[in-house]
Symmetry: C3
Subunit: 349 residues, 3 copies
Amino acid sequence: MSRPLGEIVDALGGTRHGAPDLVIHRLAPVATATPGDLAFVQTRYASQIETTAASALIVPPALEAQALSRGACIVADDPYLYFARLTQWWRRQHDPAPAPTIDPLASIHPSARLDDGVSVGPFAVVGRDVHLARGVRVGAHVVLGAGVQIGEDTVLHPRVTVGDQCVMGERCTVHSGAVIGADGFGFAPHEGEWVKIEQLGSVRIGNDVDIGANTCIDRGALGDTVIEDGVKLDNLIQIGHNVRIGKHTAMAGCAAVAGSAVIGARCTIGGRASILGHLTLGDGVHISALSNVTRSIQKPGHYTGFFPIDDNASWEKNAVSLKQLNRMRERLKAAELAIEQAFKNNSKP
Amino acid sequence: MSRPLGEIVDALGGTRHGAPDLVIHRLAPVATATPGDLAFVQTRYASQIETTAASALIVPPALEAQALSRGACIVADDPYLYFARLTQWWRRQHDPAPAPTIDPLASIHPSARLDDGVSVGPFAVVGRDVHLARGVRVGAHVVLGAGVQIGEDTVLHPRVTVGDQCVMGERCTVHSGAVIGADGFGFAPHEGEWVKIEQLGSVRIGNDVDIGANTCIDRGALGDTVIEDGVKLDNLIQIGHNVRIGKHTAMAGCAAVAGSAVIGARCTIGGRASILGHLTLGDGVHISALSNVTRSIQKPGHYTGFFPIDDNASWEKNAVSLKQLNRMRERLKAAELAIEQAFKNNSKP
Amino acid sequence: MSRPLGEIVDALGGTRHGAPDLVIHRLAPVATATPGDLAFVQTRYASQIETTAASALIVPPALEAQALSRGACIVADDPYLYFARLTQWWRRQHDPAPAPTIDPLASIHPSARLDDGVSVGPFAVVGRDVHLARGVRVGAHVVLGAGVQIGEDTVLHPRVTVGDQCVMGERCTVHSGAVIGADGFGFAPHEGEWVKIEQLGSVRIGNDVDIGANTCIDRGALGDTVIEDGVKLDNLIQIGHNVRIGKHTAMAGCAAVAGSAVIGARCTIGGRASILGHLTLGDGVHISALSNVTRSIQKPGHYTGFFPIDDNASWEKNAVSLKQLNRMRERLKAAELAIEQAFKNNSKP
């Protein structure tokens, strides 16, 4: 697995300084790179240029002179973006997608329509009236319910489940164990028991959506659950019924969105953040990891709320005091009044 | 997919106002309903009657006159309950369960007993000595370990795993990816390492239990993990070994219950709430979403504990102060004493 | 399922008091044991010796006389450790591993190498160039990607997925639904959208590692994600890309570790605890359940941070006050200054 520096620049652009036949064996983080590696450096980490052992660097124009003084480099406007595209190119060079095949051990309903270039892995189940567009890759053990539609070039890794009637766009990637279209959690209370509300809606997923391992996206109760174009969901995320997530919003691992919440476009939701049901988040709202969103937020900005960690003994004392916080506030107010009164008395003639 | 209003009332009861042949095309939330839709209105949302575009409404007796003044309606004592039953009826009308079949691609141990009307999907694995009662539906890719028993009319969606010897009652629904009967997390420490405690118990699940996608219920260490009748569990929930959950308790997504906790009947546990191990919750305890239960709670009521969200700058200031909260309390007490002392001195003769 | 007391001591050691042919029918917790049961008692629970109905007890030397006075017992230096080993022996006696078989319904690539004594269950998929060492047991529906290597006697329960090129050591146990080697969550922002960073690394897992149901361990972006020997992970845990977890560290259910965090050896991470990305935890750091680790911690010790639960009305008041905590601190300081000033004035000549 190696490629000459010149071939990389021919494919991805940028300005090359250094021999075109310098062989790159690996892409690596700049901090741990060794000879043979290509790494990238962002402007704010310029000092890494002096300390890295990488054979070549991707740097922004501002660091060009500094990088040149130590050796080979590629100059690109946005080194991180360049590096992202490089990882994609590297993968295609070294691990190209296999030729499409329909595994004879798959179970494909005769009514399913598979366009050209579709792959289906062993033990996959493709249900009644499913449509798989050109280039779709269905991994081993994937289960696609009746009427599912998958857009061009979408990749379903092994062991993804998509429930009846759910629709997914083009160029999506879904990782193993994800469950799309299980029932939302809906029950009416009746005499101390629960009566199920059948979940009659579906899930509609746009283009260029990534869904992580073991993430769950429930179908809508009446209308649909909607994930718009470009949304990125990490692992073990819960998306409740009738949620809508706007374009290019990203959520890190273990985030959760309760039913009927509406999240705007280009939001970021940190790991293990939670959003309660029926709330609305506007566009460009950024929620820190671990935070609990319990009210709607329209104003773009950065929001946080979690208990800071401490050594256990300190936490115990503070946690006890926390339960008296409102009482402390009242006591503080009383003390302030007493002080004010004392000053008044003192200033009497 | 449509049904006349009269047929709905014939099937489900209630008092009909409006033509029996009024065609209902869809069930919809009242807020977004359009002509052709049937929606329900609860007493506290009476104003929605004036604004909805639904063709017909389900209303309580108190809203009968108001609903009549705008058009067709069904009067029912509990519109939400009526609506829940209507969704079930609607599903049966439009998407009836297929005739039971044993897929030839399933792997069924010769010792397994399958009663009448059992369905088994492709690539399902039915182990040694399994018993599937009348009407059980086993989805594609379900794995049932040795000795598993499933009660009448229970539905296991594709890709559910039930470990050896686990028992499930009647009319349960289990969603994709759920794992019932994996080992509990038990290890004895020994010289800085961990020695596994084999998990010799099982999981026993009652009737009418719903289990969400990718939820895990561990088997007991010695005794069994027990889920009583009517319990409803949402997605991505963790139930540790030897937990007992009482009848008709409901838990929302991402809740977690650590080992040996005992939860009473008719509790509600909000999304992402956590219950530590070996605790006891009495009947009728309601835990807010996101809350951490770290002590037993016997008294019925509503309990909460999570950090409120704020803009990040405010949170940072408050979080820093929180670490000094106990010290603040001591300082406040000192200030109060000083004030008290000052007043005493001032009031001296 | 029963064994005589003498046979247990012959197999596991310890000093037996009582008839060797006393029949033990069950291992049980001491609190709920009934006649026929064998239970263990630790020094600090000595009073349980008087109240239990167990037929025999495992006790430490310090409790030997007390245990003898009520009946049969086994004296062992560490009763909990003895009990752990007893559960393993009991399992082997009553539920021995079946003879190794390759199920004819498995899909095994012709290039895969299976050593002696390997089992492969129905519908398992063993990919190109996989190596399964002696005694490996691959459950039903397991999917092993290209180049996967599994060490001797490792057990993969049904429905585990291991991605391309991942490596696992000897004597590991992986529970159903676990996903090892899905892509890490890496995207470069570009004009309001996300450009995928291909995850070119892998996952390397040591010996004696246990991984719980539906737990996810992502592959590295460039280097590998590493789980060292003896690590124990419970269910529904998220391990981000390029994380490293040191030897014999244990994590309880729903814990999460974000990308590139490094956790030392012999740590314990409580249930639902979270560790943010790029942090370092030294050896012997213990994080309480539910706590949020948002800074590196080098010093061994016990750390905690979560909001304590309260009745909802009290919590609401305290949560409101919490948002004014920093303001309260400033007010307290002002009050202290006023008091100090007043004392100064009063003490003027």
